[in-house]
Symmetry: C2
Subunit: 281 residues, 2 copies
């Protein structure tokens, strides 16, 4: 039987027995510091070499004490090239490997990189950070638009938080609650923040953008940006709400413009300009 990479979502509860079995059989375990220390080191006696950490991951090349090799990820939701190389090499050598992911590995998580690399996987999903924060405030999340703020998407994600009433923002280093809050100062938004998600200092805070910008938050974090904390969107049929054209057309009617009468052009002209400009987040 071919060796595989078992991708195990960790959501703070116990792991399924089959996942634990995969972990016990693994010769290589990859994950963020907290999940590694809880599941790999504590359970199996694996040892990671923190001193070797560099370039997004630390690789402990030796297998000391009989435990599996471990690679510690500095950004838990991202698999850097070195970690992908090691996982692919492990599978090619017939040695099963495990990736421990916080939250759901299939939702803006590590599963995508493994699939793109054509590494054979088995996936155990778990409750995502987004499901966790929504449940903490007793809010359904099917009407929530979800954005990942990592990398160059940060600016676009902030614009979506400005444009839409309920947005779930997946944070990343340098793109956290403080940076999002700074981008939303002056906008009528309430930010629901959970810091140290799944950790011993997990805490829910409800703040305005300015306060979010001023505080230091303990990673990992997850944020909901809400126009109204107490309001839930109507029951819908399309996840993320309805980003489709309104039923009455794509350009606002003439009576939607109260200032500078006659300066807004006709709805036809504005529709044409919008079509050509193609405004995007």
């Amino acid at each position: 039987m071919t060796a595989t990479v078992t991708v195990i979502g960790v959501d703070g509860d116990d792991l399924p027995a089959t996942a634990l079995k995969a972990l016990a059989d693994a010769r290589l375990v990859v994950g963020g510091r907290s999940v590694l220390s809880r599941w790999a080191a504590a359970t199996l006696g694996a040892r990671s070499d923190g001193a070797a950490r560099s370039g997004g991951s630390s690789v402990d090349g030796s297998s000391r004490g009989g435990g599996p090799r471990t690679i510690e990820l500095t950004v838990p939701a991202e698999l850097p090239g070195a970690a992908l190389d090691a996982l692919a090499a492990s599978v090619e050598a017939g040695e099963p490997a495990v990736v421990l992911a916080s939250g759901d590995p299939g939702y803006f998580g590590v599963l995508r990189a493994l699939r793109e690399r054509s590494v054979p996987t088995v996936c155990w999903p778990a409750v995502s950070y987004l499901q966790r924060i929504a449940a903490m405030i007793q809010r359904p999340w099917d009407d929530i638009t979800v954005v990942a703020m990592r990398g160059r998407a940060f600016r676009k994600a902030v614009n979506v938080c400005r444009a839409r009433p309920a947005v779930g923002a997946l944070t990343a280093p340098g793109a956290g609650p403080a940076e999002l809050g700074a981008g939303l100062v002056g906008w009528r938004r309430t930010l629901v923040v959970v810091q140290d998600v799944g950790g011993p200092h997990e805490e829910l805070s409800i703040v305005d953008p300015a306060e979010a910008a001023a505080r230091a938050w303990r990673e990992p974090t997850i944020v909901l940006s809400l126009a109204d904390l107490d309001r839930v969107g109507p029951a819908g049929w399309l996840a993320g709400g309805e980003p489709v054209p309104p039923a009455d057309g794509w350009a606002l009617g003439q009576d939607a413009f109260t200032h500078r009468e006659g300066m807004g052009g006709s709805p036809e002209l504005r529709a044409l300009a919008l079509a050509r400009l193609a405004p995007r987040p």
Copy 2:
């Protein structure tokens, strides 16, 4: 302390200890037949009265054998008015209640109806059917558009499956894999179906629309409609893919039309017609 309704997501694994405690304390337990029989009846000795079932739920008014009252839902993701009434009355009487939900109660689930009724809740999320089917085929799902096919949304949901390359379809009685398949006959789509999700006969099938239409499927089901089974959308930043206008404008360029040259009108005219028509799923 005020009594609450504890909404517990069930995803086939064990329940968290706190959820089990809520279940042990409950005086009223509401849920679909399978979760009730596993968690309420088996664990607590509760009895439901199947003979009294009518109008979407069965209510066992008496509390025989010391167990809690139970209400069996015929459609697990929907709380009919009678069940909502009973839950609200239970909380008002100071008696804690539990709703057992299959999958994630916050994602097109029972949490929304409770919130709309202003019933105080505590929510334990779980892995949704969608996360489950995506993990079964080792596919990330952040680029998947998700539609709920219940009620009048069925026609719109089918149109989204025709328009977009990867759609997760949450089924409902009368709007299942067979009905979706019938709506997609003639379209180049592969349907991934899991039947009896979370049950003893859970099974993954990969079929074309005609075969999906011809088969009988055991509920509950979940479906992925994919233009290409092996292709995964590019890593994105917006959940459900990017339903925003393309960067080059809202109307296709003139060279996108090869037939009846000159008959398609100018891009400007077409953009204007689209803006006025406001086509929607």
